[in-house]
């Protein structure tokens, strides 16, 4: 604004806003038109091509970005699906493990019951055998003691008279076997 006022002051002679020389205005305008025409003729197409390429590059970048985004989303879905599958697999594995553990627990319980029964039966057999052996030992010992006592009693009663009676009875018995 100050410049305009200064210029106005400097050209205050004709109080006109154009340069004093009208030819300068004409030639300047003409040069401008020539330059503009040259630009229009020679720079229009490259510029248009530049901007079209620019638009196409941007569009391709956007499409690539979109494709990347779509791919990323697909990958994300895949990962999510895989995660979901892995969760299901983990759940299935856990269920299988639980079932296997239950089956093993049941089998161990059955086996333990069977072992307990076998041990019990064996113990009963051993007990019966031991009882039988003890009874046999006792019986044998009683028999030994009883017959030892009987032998002593018999031996004590076998005086000479009884010896002679036994011998005579034997001879009579042999004679009666004819």
């Amino acid at each position: 604004m100050n410049a305009i006022l200064l210029a106005a002051e400097e050209g205050a002679e004709n109080a006109f806003w154009l340069p004093h020389d009208i030819n300068e205005v004409i030639w300047g305008s003409l040069a401008f038109l020539i330059v503009a025409a040259l630009l229009w003729k020679f720079a229009k197409k490259p510029g248009a091509d530049f901007f079209r390429n620019r638009r196409e590059g941007i569009a391709a970048g956007l499409e690539a970005a979109e494709a990347s985004r779509t791919g990323a989303e697909a990958d994300l879905d895949s990962i999510r699906s895989a995660l979901a599958d892995s969760d299901a697999e983990a759940a299935r594995i856990l269920e299988d493990a639980r079932q296997a553990a239950d089956a093993l627990t049941a089998e161990i319980a059955v086996r333990a019951d069977r072992d307990i029964e076998m041990v019990r039966e064996r113990a009963q057999i051993d007990l019966a055998a031991t009882r039988g052996q003890v009874e046999a030992d006792l019986s044998g010992e009683l028999s030994r003691l009883a017959f030892g006592a009987a032998e002593r009693v018999v031996d004590g009663t076998l005086d000479d008279a009884n010896q002679q009676r036994l011998i005579d009875a034997y001879i009579t018995n042999v004679g009666s076997q004819n």
Partner: protein, 175 residues
């Protein structure tokens, strides 16, 4: 000693006894001596000990037989011991009885009893066995305390057991 030697000694000693006319007495006394040797291990060892002089072993035999024994018995036993057959006296005396009995068609029965049988009991047992077997039987009595009571008679492989010991054993097994 083989059976052949035992039989040979038995026949020879029996012939000597017959020559002396004391077959039965010699047989009885040798049988008793044989039983004594069989029962007494120390006596058997002494009369079999070749390191002892034959005269010493013969003296032991004379001491065992005693003064009541027939001279033929003492001489025969002393001769057998001097020849180193002291340990075989039980078998020789048994074989003498068998050979003697066989010579008259009889068999020998060994009767074991806890107390000695009387002559009457030996005779009656011989008669009973003769009647039972249908052939002449000569009874030789051996005192065996393990019999306890009664008699066990063996004739060859046949045993007639009437001992108290066997009855007690049978009762023990049945119990």
């Amino acid at each position: 000693m083989t059976d052949i030697r035992i039989t040979a000694y038995a026949e020879a000693l029996l012939a000597i006894a017959a020559a002396e006319g004391e077959v039965d007495r010699v047989q009885d006394e040798l049988f008793q001596l044989g039983q004594a040797v069989q029962a007494d291990e120390q006596l058997r060892t002494t009369i079999s000990d070749s390191r002892l002089p034959a005269s010493r072993r013969a003296q032991v035999i004379e001491d065992v037989l005693g003064e009541g024994a027939a001279p033929a018995t003492v001489a025969i036993a002393s001769m057998a011991v001097s020849l180193g057959r002291g340990a075989d006296l039980p078998e020789i005396s048994t074989e003498m009885a068998r050979v003697s009995a066989a010579s008259v068609g009889a068999v020998v029965a060994e009767a074991r009893s806890a107390v000695p049988l009387t002559e009457d009991q030996v005779s009656r047992l011989a008669q009973a066995l003769t009647a039972k077997l249908g052939r002449e039987v000569t009874v030789r009595n051996t005192v065996d305390p393990t019999v306890m009571g009664g008699v066990v008679t063996q004739i060859g492989d046949e045993v007639i057991d009437g001992s108290i010991r066997t009855r007690l054993n049978q009762l023990r097994e049945a119990f």
